[in-house]
Symmetry: C2
Subunit: 256 residues, 2 copies
Amino acid sequence: MKILITNDDGIYSKGLRAAVEAVKDLGEVYVVAPLFQRSASGRAMTLHRPLRAKLVDVPGAKVAYGLDGMPVDCIIFALARFTDFDLAISGINLGENLSTEITVSGTASAAIEAATNGIPSIAISLEVSREKYKFGEGSEVDFSTASHFLRKVARAVLRGGLPEGVDMLNVNVPDDATEETGIAVTRLAHRMYRPTVEERVDPKGNPYYWIVGRKCREFEPGTDVYALKVERKVSVTPINIDMTARVDLREVERLF
Amino acid sequence: MKILITNDDGIYSKGLRAAVEAVKDLGEVYVVAPLFQRSASGRAMTLHRPLRAKLVDVPGAKVAYGLDGMPVDCIIFALARFTDFDLAISGINLGENLSTEITVSGTASAAIEAATNGIPSIAISLEVSREKYKFGEGSEVDFSTASHFLRKVARAVLRGGLPEGVDMLNVNVPDDATEETGIAVTRLAHRMYRPTVEERVDPKGNPYYWIVGRKCREFEPGTDVYALKVERKVSVTPINIDMTARVDLREVERLF
């Protein structure tokens, strides 16, 4: 079995190394991951400049490249260089990735890119409290329970494949989970954040603006947000990459 | 009616100005668009640094801000500052945005962000031949037919709203379209590009890598790619932002 691992926190992130450790005996592990922190990079691709690649030592991986690009670039690079993966894993991300806003996440977007190439894929994220969150590093964070669930999900996918119509699994683990924590199969919540803008004034008196992601407080049962935030369960959401609305197309034709 | 317009080619792009001209008499037009070219930026958000905003003169707009961020940042900024839009338009993009790979596009991603906020939205893109494509500018490109179709679609959405289950319309106009060209309501093709990597060697003898998007040659009837590339019709694809796979969740539960 050939397993590709990437992330958006960067190749030196503890979460990526935990992912490698979790699955290294399930197959040959190839790592291609960004050299730098690329959180919230979406499905951005680097088309306007070339990329550099650097061999990095990642214990447990057959080979590991750091790329000075985006998570999606890493998938493209890996497929061009190594081909034929049985599974792609993106993570373990520092911080949860939930709701239809997962397309903001570089972690989820890398898994979506792999899925577009027909590779069953898993995006996995660990809820992290604000205190423990160190931007792109996470040295204070314990990934052992998330590793346990990644291993469980990866094994299941390698053994049975994904059900018809499922391209990818989006997995989120609560920060207080143990190996006994239950798994909830969920749908994406409508949203998780309600981003807004905070205006400040620089030392010269000119305004500048921070994008701020305020968390929504509505939790709807059955969603990934509800499973993680209310039930404190591990959420697994089956994803299909096709966003075509499932409506009678004649209803749309009637508009014009 | 309040209409928000953004794009990913930047606020000085001819396509954005054509979009403003197309709808300026359907409502009050607000423009918030990136100051710089942001093609293929996906749904990236700028969270690690603050943004600057600059008032720009865009004929036909009530107000126009250029932001040194991403298309999605522009939507967030616009909603924080102006609120209550009846319609969001992203485009007119220089070059088509087709297939499930639209989530790579900053144009489509801005419309998705607006849709997440409950605003009916339209992403509109004009097929552009390689010869006419000037990165981020497009001064050689004639947007008049695309403007005609944008106006037609925008009017329909402002009048009747989007059908239940449709969050956004993704519109693509062939480069040889006329006002008589037919509209095809389509689904997203599986993919449009098959990206790969081209290795080169720098003057010092070290390798570097270009991501190259090779176009797929398979065209499946009913898809946006087929409508544009084979039928030479204007493609309109209804989009739902929820990527949860429409499968029996018990099939997924059985995996674990």
